[in-house]
Amino acid sequence: MMGYELQFILPIILISFFATSAIVIDAILLKNKSIGFYYSIIGLAITIIAAVYSLYKTNMALIPTHHSDKLITKGMLIFSGYAAFFDILFCVAGILTILASKQYLKRDYKEINEYYSLILLSIAGMMIIGHSNNLLVLFIGIELMSISFYILTGFFRTNARSVEAALKYFLLGAFATGFLLYGMALIYGAAGNLDINKATFFMTTIGKAPLILSIGVGLLIIGLSFKVAAFPFHQWAPDVYHGAPTVIAGFMSTAGKAAAILAMVIVIRPLIPQNIDKHELNQIFNGDTIRLIIAIISAATMLVGNISALVQKNVKRMLAYSSVAHAGYLLMGIVANNPKGWDGIAFYAVAYMFMQIGAFVIISLLERNNEANQDISDYAGLSKTHPILAATMGIFMFSLTGIPPFAGFIGKYYLFASVIESGYVWLAIVAVIASIISIYFYIGLVISMYFKEPGEKLQESEKGLSYITLGIASVALIIFGVFPSFILNLSHRCFNLFLF
């Protein structure tokens, strides 16, 4: 029985092992920086293999929820195909980030191996979120991820903006954690259970809702909205992403966001009625009310994110604001709460990971000292000075806008389809309006790169491993945009096995 379970838990074990041992290696081999780099990449690659294995295993051997008590994890963790899918996503994001980091760290600052182990630790946190079936385990995962992010944000210790961002992130994040924990405590008090499955089952079947339960769920939504950077708890995101090391900002805004959305899928989704025609789940605080709240948050997030991004002159800040908007798009999948919505979340998270990390890597190649050369006007004439960078950035921008044939379009199409299917046509229309707004600033960057003459500042960039990241990201965007079926089928099959 134990070995049976071990194959599912293996990715988490592996990533935790590699994360902790990376620190030890750093301590032993102080001088050689490359070993930590290769070690973490190899570690992530092995974890991906384990996750793929467990993905296909879960498809074959489904563990029913009510049996999970008998496992050694005592129902603390679940082993679903969906979690395994996201495990792979987190690891791929990690590899892309680490590949782009080496040159970047070398250039401006000293390369330190604990950087890599922190990335691995945050990935471990994300994986725990995906596998959690217990509010406390979920909390541990969120905290592991967040604390790693706090440190990574302030990794440039001598750079004032980086340190400021870290402090801001830490203070606000701690506050949000308070909300989260308080919400969990109240839910525990009302439902008498920390097991997410049982607690949500209790909430959706009990006749009369105690007030503390409603407050608890409300606080939980607030806490998670903060982690997702959804309106009105998004204010930290632009500052933090702007101040953080550029490559890390790309990582946080994609993998971190996907993990937070995954947490919402795990906790909030069961409270939303799945079928719009049957209102079986609304005895307690109406499931439709929660759905409406999330829908409003989603709509406001999209609009606020994109409108704020309109006026930004700094590319990094523009992408930070637009990443807020993308959280809004992802939330549409939770509002819909139907198979298309889950597939849409999975697909869009993959597409968004490639385009956002790619765009941030390009910024990291062109910027200097985490400050200079970040304005849109600095990108003037990039197509002449750096044709490859301009072309890939063009692909990322068009994909972020949602122009076919890039993957971003299919993701949006799926999410639109899912909300329309659940009867929220107005949300789809708001999303369309938000996309229209976003065209302006994404295209603005393309204008600067292609239609303007290069300025006096000639920017140089070292070719290196970052180009691998860019290559993977742009090729993946085109391939998944033209042949999306592979990812969609995978996530679809995974979600059928998601344990309810």
């Binding site: 068009f398 044939p405 379009f409 295209i443």
Partner: protein, 528 residues
């Protein structure tokens, strides 16, 4: 089927192949691009042999699985209407590339990659028989066209390209929501298929024929689709992007924009709006026809006062496409056939006018009418070509424009959907205005004495320019003298569509009568 597949993918293959070539060899790049485009044109001519004109349905259908979970497939097919437009696309693209040899002088490699990509996307729009696939091609057009205007355009190119991009994207995103809604509604409520979703055009067509969407919803869907297409056409209040885009685009860009891109809007109106939302189309037909008539008159009046030749031709497009839209929404065989032949005509004549304007521009680097005068003396051969294009556009009997305008006006005249002859009477004045502004422009540019000394030593057409213009002239005269060889290609498809619309209209009327009878009965019953 195979030839259709080649017609679609050969330009894409060419575009990718050009990426591999060295950018320091512009000559090689030019001729490779021309070769790919020309072979595509030849292949598309072969399609005529495979195509059965007596069959009104889609032919040479190619289907492949694409995204099974939402029943989106890679479905291609062709009927009479798209056949003509496909031939127009491959023809104009070849001409465009030939004309680019003189007009494009920087960053050649990127340019030819973009123009072949554009040809691929345009072909896809006319072949796609799946709404999602159609939308992908529809949006894909934006990217190359945006770069063509933005990089190789004139002074205000950035403004024009952004305006073009945003106008088109705004329209199409609302169409996207409508596509999703339609797919969901049909899949879940009519077909009950496993995906609960479909964008298959064949399926949608038959399903919606038997189970029409409730008219309240159909109106919104119609408007969402129509907005997107009307912006592209462009219909009167949405036309403001067109003059800017045309004026700022390089000559080949204008040719392809006028020749093919605008036809996508009118094609979409016929293919999707009339076919999928017949009830709403009948309801909205008078309103859209009014906009079309306004466009005809407005475009003509604005053309008269232009001082820039290119801008004048651009505004004349607004006027000419008004005829197309009027013909479409007359919903008669004559009107629709006229609209389709007028799409081809406009592509040929306006494309040729832009080519001619481009040729003068290459010689004088200005397009201001006041700068010219008396060019006929120094450019006798050019004058003949320019004259033919201009007269074709005016609608001189014996040339192509006459056939299209006559048929659309006749269709609108006897249309029962529009129900009034005033549409024809008012828009017929547009033909007169066209004669006024085009002949006046021609007179000011070509005739009289040479007032500007710079015009004295211009060279007449070279061989390449001859080669660009001759094929267009052949078609202009051919359509004018014997239009039947083109009309009969599309005739059966249009006949089937009109028949269907007629059926919907009569059953609508019956339903209304039935309702009246019922309410009368009820009131009688109440009185008792």
């Amino acid at each position: 089927m195979f030839p259709l597949f080649i017609t679609l993918f050969l330009p894409l293959a060419g575009s990718l192949f050009l990426l591999l070539l060295n950018k320091d060899k512009p000559k090689l790049i030019k001729y490779t691009a021309l070769g790919f485009s020309f072979v595509t044109f030849v292949v598309s001519l072969f399609l005529l042999f495979f195509f059965n004109q007596n069959n009104p349905n889609f032919q040479l259908v190619f289907e492949a699985v694409w995204i099974p979970s939402i029943d989106a497939g890679f479905r291609l097919g062709i009927d009479g209407m798209s056949m003509l437009l496909l031939l127009l696309t491959t023809f104009i693209s070849t001409i465009t590339i030939l004309s680019s040899f003189g007009a494009i002088e920087k960053r050649e490699k990127e340019y030819y990659v973009m123009i072949l990509l554009l040809q691929f996307a345009m072909t896809g729009v006319f072949l796609a028989l799946d709404l999602l696939l159609f939308f992908v091609f529809w949006e894909l057009i934006l990217i190359p066209m945006y770069f063509i205007i933005g990089i190789w355009g004139g002074k205000e190119r950035i403004y024009a390209s952004v305006k073009f991009f945003i106008f088109t994207a705004v329209g199409s995103l609302f169409m996207l929501v409508a596509i999703v809604w339609l797919g969901y509604y049909t899949g879940t409520y009519i077909l009950h298929n496993s995906a609960g979703f479909t964008t298959n055009f064949f399926v949608l067509k038959t399903a919606l024929l038997n189970h029409p969407i409730p008219i309240e919803v159909q109106r919104w869907l119609f408007l969402a689709f129509a907005l997107s297409f009307c912006i592209k056409v462009p219909l009167f209040p949405f036309h403001t992007w067109l003059p800017d885009a045309h004026t700022e685009a390089p000559t080949p860009g204008s040719v392809v924009l006028a020749g093919v891109l605008l036809k996508m809007g009118t094609y979409g109106l016929v293919r999707f709006n009339l076919e999928l939302f017949p009830q709403a189309s009948i309801e909205f037909a008078p309103y859209i026809a009014v906009l079309a008539v306004i466009g005809i008159i407005y475009g003509a009046l604005v053309s008269m006062v232009q001082t820039d030749v290119k801008r004048l031709v651009a505004f004349s497009s607004v006027s000419h496409l008004g005829f197309v839209v009027l013909g479409i929404f007359s919903m008669t065989i004559e009107g629709l056939q006229g609209a389709i032949i007028q799409m081809v005509n406009h592509g040929l004549t306006t494309g040729m006018l832009f080519l001619c304007v481009g040729m003068i521009y290459e010689r004088r680097h200005t397009r201001d009418i006041a700068e010219f005068g008396g060019l006929a003396r120094v450019l006798p051969v050019f004058t003949v070509f320019f004259g033919i294009a201009m007269l074709g556009s005016v609608g001189l009997p014996g040339l192509n424009g006459f056939i299209g305008e006559y048929l659309t006006l006749f269709g609108a005249f006897r249309s029962q959907v529009l129900g009034s002859q005033w549409y024809t009477i008012v828009s017929a004045t547009g033909v007169i205005f066209a004669a006024v502004y085009l002949l006046w422009m021609f007179q000011r540019v070509m005739f009289g004495t040479i007032t500007n000394p710079k015009n004295e030593n211009l060279e007449d057409l070279n061989k390449r320019e001859w080669l660009t213009l001759i094929p267009i002239v052949v078609f202009i005269v051919w359509i004018g003298v014997y239009p039947n060889s083109f009309l009969k290609i599309s005739e059966n498809s249009t006949r089937a569509l009109v028949k269907k619309l007629e059926l919907v209209r009569t059953s609508n009327n019956k339903r209304i009568e039935m309702k009246d009878v019922k309410t009368e009965q009820r009131s009688v019953y109440k009185d008792k």
